[in-house]
């Protein structure tokens, strides 16, 4: 039965769409020839990917000496990018799993794109630890519990880096499965409309013989709910474990217990910013304004204010605890962050992450597409700098002043970052062309046209 709340709440999908309109609007993007915008977009992404591939191949051929790392700063762009990409992924899971558990219906028109973003972001993130191994083909023995050639010397389960291997691979697999389960009914919809021979086979294979029988839906819903229940603690654990990479060390500025919640909030913050960047463009190009409405964008901007403020409080708490702890090294680390040679990165982080999201308190700004788009990019720049500040500014002046150094990125550092950006957007463009960008089945279940109220007003208008 149509949910009674549908008659009370403002409709989430506007324009009086019927279920058939939903199918038509979403499937037509898959069925028609690629548009000019799409071709331009994917060409730019492929260009980034190829330039980046050069940097990647040189790194594999010559080793990570091509990067700007030195003996003091042994982690810099690579791990910054790793944490940045993993963080971005978090919003997808938050939207699809946490908002499902909280029965937030507005997730339904954005969850598909957000989950796709999660998967591609995690793929991009994984490149960095793999490349940092230098010789990834030997890395099999370092990351997986396989006995080495000298006997059964195993990997070290005390190491947070190994926890990361398990966390990231579990996160990737579970997100992929969750995304795919949601796609099956929609693939079936495309299958049943497909005209061409190849697309018929392609979507029939992907939909795995879905019929939409009552029993299948009943099981589907229980699978989706359990997966959401599993993904919710999982998403919190992943960034917690990423933060352990730093927090379990004894480096000043890293060795703090605030890291897990602070990283999770930052991850959701940056992830929502990336979702907004992608969604604002997708809705425009695909004319999905009735599905992804200003209200959706406003709600996401509100989450940005909340998480941005949590991140801001975390920065201040860090500063306070550094002073209050009385530990000289800790105090110096934070003083150096704000006033040392990397002060500009710190200032950029504060400005982009703490000040800029506060603009969303103004309703005009948070309901405006242009300002949302700009601020979403500003937030992502800010979050990149946050990781850079945490990593590089803590490392470059360690306990021994004689080994203090600066980090300067080389072309290869930047190139591999470009490679992942190209990879991410290539994947996203392919997804947007060949997969349904909106979860049709879920959106159909919340259509206002389904509710009693809508039909009544429609009938009274007629008479």
């Amino acid at each position: 039965m149509a949910d009674p709340s549908l008659s009370i709440q403002k409709p989430l999908v506007t324009g009086g769409k019927t279920a058939h309109d939903v199918t038509q609007d979403v499937c037509s993007q898959v069925e028609k020839k690629p548009t000019k915008e799409w071709l331009v977009g994917i060409s730019i992404s492929l260009l980034c990917l190829s330039i980046g591939s050069y940097a990647l191949l040189r790194t594999l051929w010559d080793g990570i000496g091509m990067w700007g790392l030195n003996r003091t700063v042994g982690w810099a762009w690579d791990i910054t990018n790793f944490v940045w990409w993993v963080g971005i992924g978090h919003a997808g899971t938050l939207i699809s799993a946490v908002l499902l558990l909280f029965r937030q219906r507005w997730r339904m028109s954005i969850n598909r794109a957000a989950e796709a973003m999660t998967i591609f972001a995690v793929i991009c993130a994984a490149q960095f630890p793999i490349l940092h191994m230098g010789r990834p083909w030997l890395g099999l023995y370092w990351v997986f519990p396989l006995p080495n050639t000298f006997g059964s010397l195993w990997v070290n389960f005390n190491s947070p880096l190994l926890w990361d291997v398990f966390a990231i691979s579990t996160y990737f697999s579970v997100s992929l499965v969750f995304w795919y389960i949601g796609l099956i009914p929609d693939f079936a919809t495309i299958r049943d409309r497909a005209k061409g021979y190849i697309s018929k086979i392609f979507y029939a294979t992907l939909s795995m013989g879905w019929t939409g029988s009552a029993k299948a839906w009943s099981r589907y819903e229980s699978v989706a709910l359990i997966l959401a229940g599993l993904a919710t603690p999982l998403v919190l654990s992943v960034h917690t474990i990423v933060s352990f990479d730093f927090a379990t060390s004894i480096v000043p500025g890293w060795h703090t217990t605030i890291f897990p919640p602070y990283f999770v909030a930052g991850a959701i913050f940056s992830g929502f910013a990336m979702v907004l960047t992608l969604v604002v463009v997708t809705r425009k190009v695909y004319k999905l304004e009735d599905y992804i409405t200003i209200r959706h964008i406003e709600l996401m901007n509100i989450i940005i204010i909340i998480t941005g403020s949590i991140v801001g409080i975390a920065y201040l708490t860090e500063l306070f605890i550094a002073w209050y702890s009385g530990v000289e090294y800790e105090q110096y680390a934070f003083l150096n962050r704000a006033t040392g040679p990397y002060w500009w990165a710190y200032a950029c982080m504060m400005l982009c992450n703490v000040v800029s999201p506060q603009l969303f308190w103004f309703k005009k700004i948070r309901t405006n597409i242009a300002s949302t788009f700009i601020l979403s990019i500003v937030v992502n720049i800010g979050m990149w700098f946050e990781r850079f500040v945490i990593i590089v500014s803590s490392l470059h002046r360690d306990y021994l002043p004689s080994s203090w150094a600066m980090f300067y990125p080389t072309f290869y550092d930047v190139g591999i970052y470009l490679f992942t950006l190209g990879l991410f957007f290539t994947c996203f463009f392919l997804f947007a062309k060949f997969f349904p960008v909106v979860n049709m089945a879920e959106v159909k279940s919340i259509l206002a046209t389904n509710s009693e109220k809508y039909l009544k007003t429609k009938n009274t208008n007629k008479t």
Partner: protein, 175 residues
């Protein structure tokens, strides 16, 4: 899921409320319903079709226990028994360090196990090519299917009943 050969009465409904009302009427008459195919999950249909609550959550739980057991077996086996080493001054059995991997493997096996079982019991496989009674059931119509051969009522009675209860279109299919 393959359908047995026979005669079927196929009725199409646009809105889920009407479908549910029609289902109630059909059930009252004692007509057995073969299946209902919908473009999205219809709430309240499970009781009408006597679909029992799925036991997949139990499957997920059991796989989760298996994942936890495997994770502990692996970590304790490797770090405590096979090659004990003191790392960072910790015990041979540093159990707090085992929590993250144990948690991740619990979640991984629970999710993968449940989804695999879901695929198997729902007969979802890449090479499956089902024939639908009406292709609009993945678009915007709820398709109610009644197998005629196993009913006491005549074909005309059933069709009339469905028509009176808001079916938009009724057709007769022989498989």
């Amino acid at each position: 899921m393959s359908c047995p050969k026979g005669e079927y009465c196929v009725a199409l409904f646009e809105r889920d409320e009407i479908l549910l009302k029609a289902l109630q009427e059909v059930k009252k008459e004692g007509i057995r319903i073969h299946d209902v195919f919908s473009p999205y999950p219809v709430h309240g249909i499970d009781e009408l079709l006597d679909i029992k609550r799925s036991r997949l959550p139990v499957v997920a739980f059991l796989f989760g226990i298996l994942g936890l057991a495997l994770a502990l077996f692996m970590q304790i086996g490797m770090m405590t028994f096979d090659w004990p080493m003191i790392i960072g001054g910790k015990d041979f059995l540093p159990w707090p360090a085992f929590i993250p991997v144990s948690f991740e493997l619990t979640v991984l096996l629970s999710a993968m196990g449940m989804v695999s079982v879901f695929f198997i019991i729902s007969d979802l496989k890449p090479w499956a090519r089902p024939t639908l009674f009406d292709k609009r059931s993945t678009d915007d119509k709820h398709v109610l299917v009644i197998q005629l051969s196993e009913q006491k009522h005549s074909r005309e009675d059933i069709q009339g009943l469905l028509k009176n209860n808001g079916a938009e279109e009724i057709n007769h299919q022989i498989l």
